[in-house]
Symmetry: C2
Subunit: 416 residues, 2 copies
């Protein structure tokens, strides 16, 4: 099962470098779902899959499934052992986010192809539209694969420029009404394991090589709309103003304080986007829209944080005479990953003499959706400063090598 | 000199209603400078000028000058008595803002045309691009007429979509290099008086019909850029974050407190626009841009308010470890209007039995630029709730009638 490790790592780093060239701009990696840069990256990975001898299938939501079928194995009676991650990024994202799990998954399958005792098909999956950056809904591809999203929901999804997700799917030959064909049955996948960089500092600060995720947090997203009274910014007396931006500033600070209070109870909240209207230099803001990301691994804490935000907002609305509405855009529950897989992961780390730790992930992964149709796990490797979404972030080649070794061993143990 | 007042007022209200139809959307009146809606309004006013027998001239910045030349008067030796205002609006602006002064100016000239003792040409001027909403620089047309702006400055001006002011001028047949031809000599205008709605509540609350402006405030505009560290909003511990939006919230509240402290010393400051970057729902804001409008009638207070903002910003930058830069985009000095004209205004109010009060204007008017080349004055009438820039605001027909009578009397006294 051991291949030429040095060669593999060089190949993995080269492919990650290649994919990082596909970006909408030069400020980090910007590859929003279904943009030309994303399509370039997807086509590049398809060519790598084909060069590795995998059969390639693209499902109705755009997930790319590359499959290796060992000789003498019957697809119908033998479910796949799958790995994979995403290629799309947030704006100005990092070089390793998502792509690491795809390229290492492909390298691991290449290592395992020559093993005679593999009894299951091996798959590497590129999940489409994982980031919510473009369509405001996260992990769309894996949701569709797990049957967690309907055609009606998909039909309503548009990006900030009004471009419909359905239009992007139509451009690659799919119709949202066919979405149920992307939903895989529970006996088509035996196990799923995703390799990802840690988006936190537990591994780096603890000098631990491998993270094994027990629970994946899920986001609750709010839109808060503050209504004030527009007026000339030179005129209205300060005390008589209903300045929507002043109320919004109070809300930002209130949410920061609530987040600081709850983060040790497994939930956090952040105001990430704010827009002022009319957005004119000499007019008092008459309306502010804010988007809030709440997430955590403890569902109870998320509910409490939401209530505290509602209470704070209500009090600010009264104090400043600015009506404020809160809309819950989405609310997902944290997902417990498979403990049997996690034990196999720990054994793999032990065998390969790599330090490991169990932890919770505050960020979402496609594995949390696949967990609804198959036992699923997530393996993490360290990322410098835990800044996964920043152009400056770095991942050490030694950590990638360890991640690849561990992933290969886990897939081998699950597929043999 | 008295015409059919009832007829005049009906005509004035009808024309204001007509012009209000020219709007980019239905949320109040939106007629940004040189947009199709603005061109429609400009063309409509040109047709009214022509129907009133005025000769129409458009200068190199797009100001429209309608002129009545009394019989036997020599243009060269006799400078004009002029009135006028603007047609462009802020987004979702009010129905009477600007257009009132143009339509009443035209009505006043129509009344005066039959007076045999008018010894000066009478002009009504539509000043181009008065609002800073589109090109971020206020009163562009009157600045050009008074020689207060250079071709180089104009060439650098673009709107938020990157459309150059020079391109809009080219579309109506002008080149910015000809801008000096718009600059009128000091002996081409004898006096200038602008009628406008009050953008404040002094008249309404005091139940006074006419405001006579002593001093016009001028804006100082800042752009504040806060730099934080972008990162996944589920991950970074709150205390370790460099969240640009949290620092921005502190700045918004600090500026509000500074404004409350200084407004009784003749200056005020408002954060009017805020933008978050990358503007993604699951990424901590790594950069915030804010625009601040400072204005007042006391130059010393403006300087002090600017220093207090700099001090507050510096302290917030240190406390939150977010570097913050302040750019002064523009800084204009308050303008003292002509006291002789103001005395003639007071006498006119007295003669017409209208209550009047001297006051300062916290908002800019084209008259403040024309004051550099001719004695200038501003007459105000009340506006409901002082909300000039809001679609809901109302002006009473009786107040408009009084404003028109007073304007006509002033122009008569200045031109006879």
């Amino acid at each position: 099962m051991q291949a030429n490790n040095l060669y593999d790592i060089k190949w993995v780093l080269t492919q990650i470098e290649q994919v990082s060239q596909f970006s909408q701009d030069n400020a980090g990696i910007t590859r929003l779902a279904f943009t030309p840069a994303d399509h370039q990256a997807r086509n590049y990975i398809i060519s790598l899959m084909q060069a590795s001898g995998l059969t390639v299938h693209i499902d109705a939501i755009g997930n790319i499934i590359g499959r290796f079928l060992p000789e003498g194995i019957d697809t119908d009676s033998s479910p796949a052992v799958a790995t994979g991650s995403h290629l799309d990024t947030v704006p100005s994202g990092g070089k390793y986010d998502g792509v690491l799990g795809i390229v290492c998954g492909l390298a691991a399958i290449n290592r395992l192809k020559s093993c005679s005792d593999i009894r299951h098909p091996l798959e590497v999956i590129v999940f489409a539209a994982k980031e919510s950056s473009r369509f405001n809904l996260p992990t769309i591809g894996s949701k569709a694969m797990a049957g967690l999203v309907t055609a009606a929901t998909l039909n309503a999804i548009k990006d900030q420029d009004g471009i419909a997700l359905s239009a992007e799917l139509a451009a690659i030959g799919f119709q949202t009404k066919q979405i149920s064909t992307a939903n895989r049955s529970k006996n088509s996948i035996k196990d799923f394991v995703e390799l990802h960089i840690e988006q936190g500092q537990v591994l780096e600060q603890g000098r631990i090589r491998i993270g094994i995720v027990d629970k994946v947090s899920a986001p609750t997203r709010l839109k808060i709309i503050v209504l004030g009274t527009a007026g000339h910014s030179g005129v209205a007396p300060i005390e008589e103003r209903q300045d929507a931006l002043v109320s919004a500033a109070m809300i930002i600070l209130a949410i920061r304080n609530i987040a600081a209070e709850y983060e040790y109870q497994g939930a956090v909240a952040t105001v990430t986007i704010l827009k002022t209207y009319p957005g004119t230099i000499n007019v008092i803001p008459g309306k502010v829209e804010m988007w809030v990301d709440i997430r955590g691994t403890e569902h109870e804490s998320i509910i409490e944080i939401l209530q505290e935000i509602k209470d704070a907002v209500s009090s600010i609305a009264d104090d400043y005479n600015t009506p404020i509405a809160i809309e819950v855009l989405s609310s997902e529950k944290p997902v417990l990953l498979d403990d049997t897989i996690n034990q196999i992961m720990e054994a793999a780390c032990c065998k390969l003499k790599q330090t490991s730790v169990r932890l919770d992930s505050r960020v979402g992964h496609d594995a949390m959706n696949i967990a609804h149709i198959a036992p699923a796990g997530v393996v993490l490797i360290p990322c410098k400063d835990g800044i996964s979404y920043n152009a400056c972030k770095e991942v050490a080649p030694d950590d990638i090598a360890a991640g690849l070794d561990v992933l290969t061993e886990i897939l081998y143990q699950l597929a043999k």
